[in-house]
Symmetry: C2
Subunit: 876 residues, 2 copies
């Protein structure tokens, strides 16, 4: 018979799958002798069976009672016993942490009789009554599904009636009244009395935790975080310890290092005279853990020891929950703590430097998508800012947007692409959909470990929490800082790295890489096999790419160079030319400009290959809009300007003749080069002349000429001959040999299918996966993403957007064919990828697996690509 | 040492490659003892060497002189001998016949002395002088490159001076004067005297024939007919016989059967008192061969015997040239005769019925593209025609167009797509470019074997020749029939099947298949393995497809059904619907219309599968043009029509929201079905209801539902479920099981690449090769064919237009992958092709080779497809 229940000390601390993360942590801590209040864990298997049956599995409760009996024996207390009552907490704990998503019940076991027993035993009747009223409130909400606010309402009313500001000011009589009112509320709302039998309470609580696996916010969280639905949650039944037994009692959470920066040293918060949920719920603003050094010096010292022990044991930063009951420390949970990307890098590098981790493990532990956030823009340190207030730096990064006050509005407006900042007194799990859609979150309450802070860090959204200076009025939809009022729709900027809240949108600057990040990337470079290059169209881009560690430009697009204000008129003259001579003349004017472009890029990438793609887009992209020209023509006619009329008519004629039904599949790429070879010849000349200049300066420009959109070997063969001819001419003119490579983009399916023939003329292939995805699927990206792709993704017809994550079955198969057959025809063929996928970790893994030589991505993705390439190599 | 020269009787009659067609024919006829004037052949290898060297190969002329000596000995005559002069003809003869494209010299060996010798020997000084002047004229033109017209001008001037209308009326003195004037012209034009030495004449003539391989009209002809450039021409040197030695002499050409209809019996023309070129040049209108029965009964009988002998020997209709010299028959050439498609079919079937050919050979001999012409439209027999004149039915088919009088104008206007008829007194090889571009040809002179007739038949262009009733004035650019004048640009219709010339454009009707054609197709059906289906969108199309032998509809497009005048408003309402209910309502109105469509097609194809493709094009194709709507809106605003303004604004909004950058790659096909499943559900219901009606009538509708543009297994899976649900509902409503198949078009590369997964949901694949070609190449057909494809074809970057002839390397490879992997996943998978390529013989061959089950093409291509499929099977 399957066993569903394990005492903590019996459990396997590695078996997160069955015991859940919390259960496994409690088991592990119990085993290594840390002070953990005894208890037992009901496995995730029991939960899954419960979900499947829709009821408690046969025999499960019998097993629970047996383990309860063991627990009672261990502690010398019994559930429901008036003399020595046992109280327990009942908590969820899934294999993958889902903070705050599921339910917890504390103080279970209390009823009128055991409350009196607890009072006698603790010599603290007020404490016992307060515990009972908390239990009713929590059980009523979590297990009996009553509205939390109704209890709060009664509590607030009572405090007003008796004229006390704090919960802690209520005396025993007040609490007795409160308990009576709570019970009446329960009876009234649920038509059943509040259960007195602790065993009934326990069975109901276990079922409620199981049920909470399926509550809507948990489902949303799992979808967002791609957590499988079939994991289930374990249930931990643990004997209660009390952080609310007076000033020598406290409860808190801590990270073994700073989860924002990764700096060593405990980082956390605690509240005296409180129970666990009070800290994370963000209702009272807690104290920094450092204050404990004075307030509870012994416990603080003990915490430092436990913290070091657990970190070394788990070889990672831990997130620890603890309670101090009358100066005695108890550990309630330990788990690997969530952290910012910056912290993740620093912690891994620090641990590796300390010999606790291997370099490989330090690399493997990084989430490339999270690391990408290190490259997010930051507030410009030189910007004039209009500082409104200072809160806690809860999740780094800068964000600006219009202020909104509800998660629903944040979702509605954020989904349309509007930048909004969600401003709330505090956030709850029910606000997740709004946080997802907002640029950032600002709360007036809650600490660094409050819900808003944890969730925002997980999503990589900037957040400022506990910003008590702002007074929020939800009804009026505004907030106030001193006498300054910020209304809904006003723009603010938050800096989650410093906690600053600023009025208006503040300029941002590029980030710098930390020394730890650079070290980690250097380790990654040792492990990876894929080369990392960058897509760069300007000398600035190329310089940035070098700074981020790219060893080459995998794609230099030349069309953006044609779009400059000084160039467009010449480009248009070239397109409008009626004769070859006119076109040649316009091209002559473009030549020095292009030469300068190439000079700058080759110089910035000196010593590394620069792959220059000759002109790709259809010519009509450079011509004015037809409607604009028609309007100008009407005006010229009205003004009787004959010269202008003739000119505009010529423009119109040409624009119309260049019109295309499907420009994506039209007259572009090498097709231009074949029909107007003089355009490509000019570009080739500009490249080789720039190369000659640099060579003469003693530099080492490495030129690769790339022909786009090739679909037949013959196209490339013609363009190869053209380039060779220009190269020879320039080489002769300059009196210097100009070595170069010629290759092609593989971006239509046919090119992949005839790659063997193409490779006879190509020294390199670069997969243009954007266009290759469009043609392989038959999707126009512009149209697909605005029309049917959202439905396809929502309905799971496609698992991923193929323009973000490379489609391995279709597009990837074509790439694989092309690599194999291209290399069969020319073993030294260099192959890489230069579509957007070049910066996507999953796509990079695929590129590694099929043996590409390099990937090329935008300069800002280069560090991530270096990391992802190393991870792919380590996964082999 | 390679041998370059062979006496006719030495040559291998099968070796057309080295001896040329004419040389091989002369060799074969000599061997079987037919009366061939002796001579020898210089091989094509000598020609190719001459082309490569740019001069006569070493030793070639020595070999020629040796063979000349043999010839002289055989005949007892010598070249240049005054007593018994030998005269020879020097003719080209390529491996593949190129009628009229290259040069011929007759009467070579004449000079003042041998002319007198010939006169003495023949007792006919006039004949000798006439031969000499003909020789000077021909040699001057062909070998010395002088303008033919200059000689004609002198001849005409002399006839006027001496007051005679016909060449034959010139007497000896006249001819002596003419010869003197011709020689003076030669001296004056070329600065050299006309050569008297017959050996010099012969060497010059041989070189001229070699040179003529590279003349411009020959190059054009080879390009048009896809004849390789490196074949070269042989040269035949043959002793002269004379058709111009009085009334007992004649020259003629004949076909052993009627080359237009294929009817048995000799068909040809002759001229008495003439040399060979006079007949084919079309200068004098010759007599029908049948007249010879009275005029030269013995020779006629001999011709019939020779004709039967050669036809049986060669097992095909022969095209024979002959000369009668003083009642003695000589054969100058035999070759397989060009024929119309109709004749080709009848001849092959007749020969097969007679046991001369096997059925397989009868099938193999057909050129499918030529057979296609049998399906050309004919003049409507019930049409009122305005008959202008009657000429010879030189090349069948009906054509109409505007009258033009020069080949250059026909080319210039024809290339822009304008329909023109080229009208000429006669045509020459220099007119080919005009004939290519014209719809048809009309000449006032020349017979059925004239240049115009032969060339037009070869191209499948309608032609009427020898229409002497029309009097053409080239200078005024008009022609006259009695008192009726037809000016340039007037429209006429010609019927090449009957020889009629009609004013205006006359309505045409579908052709009917001859009994021989049907018999041939029945034989083809026995041999082929591929099924032949048709693309049909209407009951009429389906009926026509059945008539032509299609056994199913491989593609029934449903979008044309949406375009009808009564339907478009409902379709638009459906598209403009803001809610699902509104859309459902519009779809309800469309349902009975669609049902009627499917009813008719299934009924017409009863017992055979009908593959119905659900809606494919983007919805905006059904909406009005944006500019038109904007204009209407401006008008409505001016008129203050509030209702109309609101309606038009809604239309504009929707049209704009449906706008696509690349509609080819946009929101269409199954993507519509996924986003608006109610549209496909309506179509499925219409199909199944029609099926139910037919089943209840005892008919056998075979329904196949085809989902377009699928790229992932999931898309098809959803649509399969949708169809199954509708099928069950209708089946229940109608109380009758409604069996059907579901499948998909494979028309994007990804579908081919994941065919194994798709086949799990598909019972059939149909390759949509039009779209598959577009996406595989990344060519938008609309844009490519107007922009870069003409250059690609002209520059031979592509050998064929991939939209006409299936690209085997790229598109074909995808198809092959899909077939193999689809069948691996589902062995009983039915696979076919339904793009335009389904009717192209080369593509059909490929489909056969990779093992498709069927091809589907337009109804009018069905017979060709049946034939091509059989040929593909026979080629295995």
């Amino acid at each position: 018979m399957t066993r569903y229940v394990y005492q903590f000390e019996e459990g396997d601390g590695q078996d997160r799958k069955r015991l859940g993360g919390k259960g496994a942590g409690l088991a592990e801590m119990s085993r290594i002798g840390l002070p953990v209040p005894p208890g037992f864990t009901i496995t995730t298997e029991a939960c899954n069976l419960y979900q499947a049956l829709g009821r408690m599995p046969d025999g499960l409760m019998d097993e629970v009672w047996a383990h309860l009996a063991k627990l009672e024996e261990k502690l010398g207390r019994r559930l429901g016993d008036v003399g020595r009552p046992l109280l327990v907490s009942v908590r969820s704990g899934a294999p993958i942490s889902m903070p705050g998503m599921m339910d917890t019940v504390l103080n279970l076991g209390l009823n009128p009789k055991t409350t009196e027993g607890l009072a006698r035993q603790t010599h603290n009747r007020r404490f016992a009554l307060d515990s009972y009223r908390r239990f009713i409130q929590m059980f009523g909400n979590v297990v009996m599904h009553m509205d939390h606010a109704r209890f709060e309402h009664i509590l607030e009313r009572l405090k007003q009636e008796v004229g006390v500001p704090q919960d802690t000011d209520l005396n025993e009589q007040h609490l007795e009244r409160l308990i009576a009112q709570y019970k009446e509320l329960v009876q009234q709302q649920t038509q059943t009395p509040f259960p007195d039998d602790p065993k009934v309470q326990l069975e109901m609580a276990i079922a409620a935790v199981f049920d909470s696996w399926k509550n809507p916010r948990a489902i949303v969280y799992r979808r967002l975080n791609k957590i499988p639905e079939d994991l289930g949650t374990a249930v931990n039944v643990q004997s209660m310890v009390f952080g609310n037994m007076g000033d020598s009692s406290a409860t808190g959470v801590l990270f073994t290092r700073n989860p924002n920066t990764g700096e060593p040293g405990m980082y956390g918060e605690y509240l005296t005279q409180a129970q666990g949920e009070d800290v994370v719920a963000g209702i009272r603003t807690p104290k920094a853990i450092a204050e404990m050094a004075e307030e509870m010096p012994q416990t603080y010292q003990q915490l430092i020891e436990v913290s070091n022990l657990l970190e070394t044991h788990y070889r990672d930063m831990q997130d620890i929950e603890f309670t101090v009951q009358e100066n005695r420390l108890y550990l309630l949970q330990t788990r690997t703590g969530k952290r910012t990307a910056r912290a993740a890098v620093k912690i891994a590098v620090d641990l590796a430097r300390a010999g606790i981790l291997s370099k490989e493990e330090a690399i493997r532990r990084q989430n490339p998508e999270q690391v990408q956030r290190l490259l997010y823009r930051q507030i410009d340190p030189n910007a004039d800012v209009d500082l409104l207030a200072q809160g806690l730096p809860a999740s780094p990064g800068a964000a600006f947007g219009r202020v909104v006050f509800t998660a629903d509005e944040a979702e509605a407006r954020g989904q349309t692409g509007e930048a909004v900042i969600l401003v709330r007194p505090e956030t709850t799990p029910d606000d997740i959909h709004g946080i997802v859609a907002a640029q950032g979150v600002l709360t007036s309450r809650g600490g660094m470990t409050s819900h808003a802070a944890i969730v925002a860090r997980g999503m990589g959204k900037p957040a400022v929490t506990g910003c008590e200076a702002i007074k929020i009025s939800l009804t009026d939809e505004k907030f106030q800082v001193d006498d300054r009022v910020v209304e809904k729709n006003d723009v603010i900027t938050i800096d989650g790295g410093t906690g600053r809240v600023m009025l208006g949108s503040v300029p941002t600057v590029d980030p710098e890489l930390s020394s730890e990040f650079n070290e980690l990337l250097a380790w990654a470079d040792e492990k990876r096999r894929l080369g990392i290059q960058a897509n760069a169209d300007t000398p600035d881009d190329a310089a940035k790419a070098r700074e981020f560690g790219a060893t080459g430009v995998g794609l230099c697009r030349t069309e953006h160079m044609f779009m400059g204000q000084d160039r467009l008129p010449v480009v248009q003259a070239m397109i409008l030319a009626e004769t070859l001579e006119e076109r040649q003349q316009a091209l002559q004017s473009l030549l020095p400009m292009q030469q300068e472009d190439f000079y700058g890029i080759l110089r910035a990438m000196d010593g590394y290959p620069v792959t220059i793609r000759l002109l790709d887009p259809p010519l009509h992209e450079f011509l004015p809009d037809i409607e604009d020209t028609e309007k100008a023509l009407r005006e010229a006619k009205a003004a009787g300007d004959e010269g202008e009329i003739t000119r505009l008519q010529a423009v119109l004629r040409r624009t119309r003749s260049l019109f295309e039904f499907n420009p994506m599949l039209g007259f572009r790429g090498v097709r231009l080069g074949i029909v107007y070879p003089e355009i490509y010849a000019m570009q080739a000349r500009a490249i080789f002349q720039a190369q000659a200049d640099l060579l003469k300066q003693g530099l080492h420009p490495r030129v690769e000429v790339m022909i786009p959109l090739v679909g037949t070997p013959e196209e490339l063969s013609r363009m190869k001959d053209m380039a060779a001819e220009v190269n020879q001419t320039v080489s002769k003119e300059q009196g210097i040999p100009l070595p170069y490579k010629i290759g092609t983009m593989i971006e239509v399916p046919r090119a992949a299918l005839v790659a063997g023939g193409i490779a006879e003329h190509a020294e390199f292939f670069s997969f243009g996966t954007n266009d290759l995805t469009q043609t392989t699927f038959g999707y126009s990206r512009d149209d697909a993403e605005s029309k049917f792709l959202p439905t396809y993704l929502a309905e799971k017809i496609l698992k991923e957007n193929p323009f973000m994550v490379l489609d391995r079955e279709g597009v990837g198969r074509l790439i694989d064919i092309a690599v194999k057959e291209g290399r069969a025809a020319r073993p030294e063929l260099k192959v890489g990828i230069c579509g957007e996928h070049g910066g996507d970790p999953s796509s990079i893994e695929f590129c590694h697996q099929i043996g590409l030589d390099y990937v090329s991505c935008s300069p800002f993705r280069v560090p991530v690509a270096r990391l992802a390439a190393a991870q792919a190599a380590l996964r082999e």
